[in-house]
Amino acid sequence: MPPPTPLSPPELSYLYTSLSLTPPIRLDLRQPSQFRPIIAECSFLPHCNGSSRICMTEAGECIVGIKAEVEKDATTKYATVIEREKWIEVSVEVAGGGVAGAGSGSGGGGGGVGIGGISGAGGATGRDEGDGGAAVWLKEGLLAGGGGAGAGWSILDRLVISSGWHWKLYIDVLLLTPTSHPSPLLLSTAVNMALSSTYLPKLTSPHDIDDIPTFSDDWAISTPLYEPTSFPKPPISLPVVAVGDNVFLDPSVAEVAAAEAGLVITLSLVDEEGSCDVVGVRSMEVGRAGGKEGERKGIGRKLLREMVGACVKEAGEVIKGLGETTQKQMFRA
C-alpha cells in the first residue's frame, strides 16, 4: 500500500505542475538537491556501546542503541559466511505499534516517506511488519557497505574477538513517531551515527586461546568499531524522487505522493575526497497521484542515471558532515 496521501487530488495536481516546471519550484522553496536541517546527537546512552538520536522535520524522531555481546562461534574451527551474517541483528521498533494505529486512522503521526510497497490491504491477508521491512534493507546496506564482496574489509571481520569467539552486535532502532512507512534517510542516518560512535572493549586475554575472552574495564583504551581515519564508513540511504524531468533529493511526504518514480540509494564513503560507492538501490513506492494516467509507469534508463547521479554528487558531503558531527560528540574525540 502506498504511503498515506495527505493532500487532495487538486492539491496534488498543483504540486505536480509546480514540481515539473523548469526550473522546478518546491513547496518549501528548497533547491532540488537541498536537504532539510536535522538534529543529531550521539553517545548519550550509558548502557550502550554506541547510541544516537536523530530528529527530522517530517520523518520524526529516532533513537538507536547498539549493544555488543560476546558470543561463541557456532562451529569451533571456522564460521561459514551465512552464520557470520547472523553476527549482526537489526531490530526496528515503531512507537505506538502497527496494530492500534490502523483502526483509528493516522491519528498520531504524519506518514514518513515510504520505501517499497508493503503488501496487504489493511491486514486482511496476514499482518505485515509495522516497520515496513526496514530491518532487512538496513542490514543489507551494512553488510554490503563493508565490502563484503571482495574489497578486503568487512564489518564482520571487526567483530572477531579470538579463535572461537565473536561479538554479536544488536542494533535496536526505536522510532518514536508512529508511522507505517519509516523514512529511510532517518533510520540510516541514525544507524550510521550510532555505528560511528560505537566502542568495543579492549581484549586482554590472548587471541588464540579457546577460553572465554576477558576484557579491560578501562574505556579509555577501548577500540572504535569504525576507526575514524579508515574507510569505508557506515552507509546512509538517500531517497530520491522524479517528477517530470526533474529529480529531487530529500523529498517531503507531499512530494512523494505527487511523484512518478522513486528510489532509495544507499551509499558509503570510500575516501577523504568524498567519493562514495553505491551499495544498494531499491525502488520506493510513490503516490503517482499527480500526473496523468498512462504516462510513465516505471523508471526509464535515462531517468535512472539522473537519479543515481544526483545522489552520488551530494552524498559525499552529507556523509562527511555527519561524520564531523559524530566526531565532535563522541565521548572520546
Binding site: W137, A149, R282, G298
Partner: protein
C-alpha cells in the same frame, strides 16, 4: 540471556550446546567443488512457463528455471470486504504474498513467513503495481500468491568449507558473500515473470507485461585486497541469470534484479546490492543494469509465448471465435 540454574537432577549435556560434526564429501581428493556449468555468461537458463494449470482460481502459472520451481495463483478482482475498517478504494488493491514451501530448500523453513519472504513479497508488489490498470477495478482486490516449491538453496554449501590441505587457519573466502542476494534475486526474477503470466491468464488488464531479469558482476579474486572498488581491475565479468556458485576464481561485486516492461522500456522494480563504484559516474551501474535488462528481455520472449499459447488454447477449445447460438426453449405465448 541469563544463565539458567544448573539442573542437578540429571546428567547434563555441555552447557553451551554442541555442534554436529561436519564431514568433507570426499576425504581423499580434498573438498569437492561444485560443477561449473558451461553456460556462456550472456545466456540465461531455459525457462519453462505454463499458465492455466490450476482451475479453481482466476489465473495461475507454473515456472521452472532449473532448479527453481514456483507456482503462482491470481485471485481476483474480488470485491473488498465492506466493513467499516476497509476504506473506500478508487483503485484495485494489489496484494502479493511469497512463501517458500517448507521442503523447498535444504534447510527446512517454517510455515510462518519470515522477513526475507516478506521482503520478496513487497519487491514483487513494487514490480507489478505500476503495470496493472488498477483504475479499472475500483473497490476490488487482486491477490497474487506465490509458492516456491524448489529453490537453489542460498546456503547449500554452507557446511562444506574449502579448506586447503595442511593449513591450520582458514581464511574466509570472500567469494561467498552476496550469496543470499544472488539466490533471492533469481527467485524474484522468476516470480515477476511468472506473476505477469498468471495475471494475463486471469484476464486482468495491464499496461505491459513485466518480465524479471537478474545479473551479477564479478571480478578476479586476486587484485582486490584492501582497495576500493574503483581501483580494481576493470575487467568485469557480467553473468546473466547467475548460478549460486560463482565462476572459477571470481569474486562477486554486485547483483542487480529488476522488473522490466519491454514494450515501454521502463523499469518497474529495481534492486541492486553489493558494491558499485562511482569513479566514472553512473557508468558502472549502467552496465550492470543493462545486463539485467538484457536478461529480462530474453525472459520476455518466453513470457510472450506463454501468453499466446493460452489465448490459442482458449480459442481452440471453443472451436470458433464466434458466439455460440442456442436453440431457444422459450414458450411462445399466443392468444
Amino acid at each position: 540471556m541469563a544463565a539458567k540454574a544448573p539442573d542437578r537432577r540429571r546428567n547434563n549435556p555441555p552447557s553451551h550446546g554442541t555442534t554436529p560434526p561436519v564431514f568433507l564429501s570426499s576425504a581423499s581428493s580434498g573438498a569437492v567443488k561444485p560443477k561449473q556449468s558451461s553456460r556462456p555468461p550472456n545466456e540465461i537458463r531455459k525457462i519453462f512457463l505454463r499458465t492455466g494449470l490450476i482451475s479453481s482460481v482466476t489465473g495461475s502459472s507454473f515456472l521452472e528455471i532449473a532448479p527453481l520451481k514456483l507456482s503462482i495463483s491470481v485471485l481476483g478482482p474480488r470485491p473488498l470486504p465492506r466493513t467499516s475498517s476497509t476504506p473506500f478504494a478508487a483503485q484495485a488493491i494489489l496484494t502479493t504474498e511469497v512463501k517458500f514451501a517448507p521442503f523447498a530448500s535444504t534447510v527446512r523453513r517454517g510455515y510462518v513467513r519470515d522477513s526475507s519472504e516478506r521482503d520478496l513479497g513487497s519487491r514483487l508488489y513494487q514490480a507489478l503495481v505500476g503495470a496493472i490498470r488498477r483504475e479499472l477495478y475500483p473497490k476490488s482486490r487482486i491477490e497474487v500468491v506465490v509458492t516456491i516449491l524448489d529453490s537453489e538453496d542460498e546456503g547449500d554449501d554452507v557446511n562444506t568449507v574449502y579448506m586447503e590441505e595442511g593449513k591450520t587457519t582458514v581464511e574466509t573466502k570472500f567469494w561467498d558473500a552476496g550469496r543470499s542476494e544472488r539466490a533471492l534475486g533469481v527467485v524474484l526474477a522468476g516470480c515477476i515473470t511468472a506473476a505477469s503470466a498468471a495475471l494475463a491468464d486471469a484476464g486482468i488488464e495491464m499496461f505491459d507485461l513485466v518480465s524479471g531479469g537478474v545479473a551479477t558482476s564479478f571480478v578476479d579474486e586476486v587484485g582486490l585486497k584492501g582497495k576500493g572498488v574503483g581501483d580494481a581491475v576493470s575487467n568485469k565479468l557480467y553473468v546473466r541469470d547467475p548460478a549460486i556458485a560463482p565462476p572459477e576464481g571470481k569474486v562477486p561485486l554486485a547483483t542487480c534484479v529488476l522488473g522490466y516492461m519491454a514494450a515501454r522500456d521502463e523499469i518497474s522494480e529495481l534492486w541492486i546490492s553489493g558494491k558499485v563504484g562511482t569513479k566514472n559516474g553512473t557508468a558502472e551501474m549502467d552496465e550492470l543494469v543493462d545486463e539485467a535488462i538484457a536478461a529480462a528481455r530474453s525472459a520476455r520472449g518466453v513470457l510472450n509465448e506463454a501468453a499466446k499459447e493460452r489465448v490459442q488454447f482458449i480459442v481452440d477449445k471453443t472451436g470458433t471465435t464466434e458466439p455460440l447460438k442456442e436453440e431457444s426453449t422459450d414458450v411462445q405465448m399466443t392468444g
